[in-house]
């Protein structure tokens, strides 16, 4: 029999564990934005070396599953003498992985702009800095918002993978809970509800941002 009290009871510790899920996803996307922007700049740069480096970065990170990246990263850090907390390792790995996708999102948006947009600015005598800052990037950011929110939602779900390095985020917390209460269905359903709640909020945030930036 499905037990509603057991379901409700497991919500509380899982809500608590959601902190880590959010921290990893938000930290991951923030780091991913920074690195992804740099990688995108490298891929659009005039230097052949930087372009190749960026392309390699993207194809490697998109080609290896996050779980494997996470394990490789986690176990290789001590080898180079770095003793970082599991949480930091998780955020860094998720951020690096996200950077590959984010740089592609930026690049796609920038390439989708008609070349005439920048030409009109160049023809008037704008500096490259203003051409980017005033004409290209504002449009690219608006165009990328749906894809970026989508990426954030994917990260929230992917963050369940960091349970393998011992972080008590939603998924791992629910496994622990299920093992002690012998009520797996109720617990996992509670976990599903929390993931859903987080992602519905993010989707709403996305719609709000899109509405605000729409012309």
């Amino acid at each position: 029999m499905f037990s509603i009290p057991a379901f409700l009871e497991s919500l509380v510790p899982l809500f608590w564990a959601a902190r880590y899920t959010l921290l990893i996803s938000v930290g991951g996307i923030a780091l991913g934005l920074v690195i992804g922007t740099l990688i995108c700049a490298a891929r659009l740069s005039r230097s052949r070396f930087l372009r190749n480096f960026g392309a390699l970065w993207v194809s490697f990170l998109r080609g290896v599953p996050l779980l494997v990246q996470l394990l490789v990263f986690y176990y290789s850090l001590p080898l180079i003498g770095l003793d970082v907390p599991a949480m930091v390792a998780a955020i860094v790995t998720v951020g690096i992985c996200a950077s590959a996708y984010i740089s592609e999102i930026w690049r796609g948006a920038i390439n989708a702009l008609p070349p005439g947009q920048a030409e009109a600015a160049v023809a008037i005598g704008m500096t490259p800095r203003d051409v980017w800052g005033r004409v290209i990037l504002p449009q690219a950011v608006t165009m990328s918002l749906p894809a970026l929110i989508n990426e954030l939602i994917l990260l929230v779900k992917a963050s369940s993978l960091v349970s393998v390095v011992g972080i008590l985020e939603i998924t791992r917390a629910s496994q622990a809970q299920a093992a002690t209460t012998f009520r797996p269905l109720e617990v996992y359903l509670a976990a599903a509800c929390i993931y859903l709640l987080i992602n519905l909020c993010l989707a709403a945030l996305g719609r709000w941002l899109e509405y605000r930036t729409a012309v």
């Binding site: 008609p114 005439g116 947009q117 030409e119 009109a120 600015a121 160049v122 023809a123 008037i124 005598g125 704008m126 500096t127 490259p128 203003d130 005033r134 004409v135 504002p138 449009q139 608006t142 012309v215």
Partner: protein, 256 residues
């Protein structure tokens, strides 16, 4: 005899192996309208875009008011800052308008005044309003481009260029993307500009405009500048068989 506003000498341009401009010579007289006509793919846009160095030419010289554009000396590229300085006084109007969609009409016009001319925002905004009033859009200033018709968008683009107070205006088929009923409003703004003595170079398929407004018409074919003369001598008494054949095709297409 005044010096040319634009002096083009022996200009060559290649796209890879393709020879797009072949030893082009042309002088653009100041305060006059010069129309550039010719078949599709003949290099009209390429030549026009070389005049503000949006497109690099490979050899020859293009002088704007006597000053070489794009190069300090043959083969040595000009510094970015010096090139931007020259572009400030060359306005350009594109076939696809190229208005910035995230800014209102007024912001589109004010942007260059603020960023390039360094005007305070309030002054720039006031000048933008004047320029928009001049093209008949005083009541559409706060609209974004998406809320304007094609003809209105192109007039905003013209206002954006003239607000910078250029000495030379380049137009690349400014009415080709417009519905026929919207062509007139854009041409009439251009006629006003011409009557005020603006130096204009206009790539166009509007032979009527070339015949009635241009002071000179230049004909291009396959990257060559075939002839440049008065509208009458190019459009009504063409000597060159290539011009005759172009005009014949044009008349056939436009009669029904």
């Amino acid at each position: 005899m005044q010096a040319s506003a634009v002096e083009i000498q022996k200009v060559n341009k290649y796209y890879g192996p393709f020879h797009a401009l072949k030893d082009v010579d042309l002088s653009i007289p100041p305060g006059r309208v010069t129309c550039l006509i010719g078949p599709s793919g003949s290099g009209k846009s390429t030549l026009l875009r070389c005049m503000n160095f949006l497109e690099e030419y490979d050899s020859g010289e293009i002088r704007i008011d006597g000053k070489l554009i794009g190069y300090d000396a043959p083969g040595r590229r000009m510094a970015g800052r010096a090139l931007r300085e020259m572009r400030r006084s060359i306005g350009m109007v594109f076939q696809q308008f190229n208005l910035w969609p995230h800014m209102t009409a007024r912001e589109n016009v004010a942007e260059g005044l603020i960023r390039v001319r360094g005007l305070p925002k309030a002054d720039a905004s006031a000048r933008a309003a004047e320029a928009l009033a001049k093209v008949g859009l005083a009541d559409k200033m706060e609209n974004h481009p998406a809320r304007l018709s094609g003809g209105q968008q192109q007039r905003v683009a013209i206002a954006r260029a003239i607000a910078m107070e250029p000495r030379l205006m380049l137009f690349d088929e400014p009415t080709s993307a417009l519905d026929p009923e919207l062509v007139g409003e854009v041409l009439s703004v251009m006629k006003t500009l011409a009557s005020e003595g603006m130096t204009m170079v206009v790539v166009t398929h509007e032979m009527g405009f070339a015949a009635h407004v241009a002071d000179r018409v230049a004909f291009m074919e396959r990257g060559e500048l075939v002839a440049a003369d008065t509208p009458d001598r190019i459009l009504h008494q063409p000597q060159d068989p290539r011009i005759q054949s172009f005009l014949r095709t044009y008349h056939e297409r436009n009669s029904f």
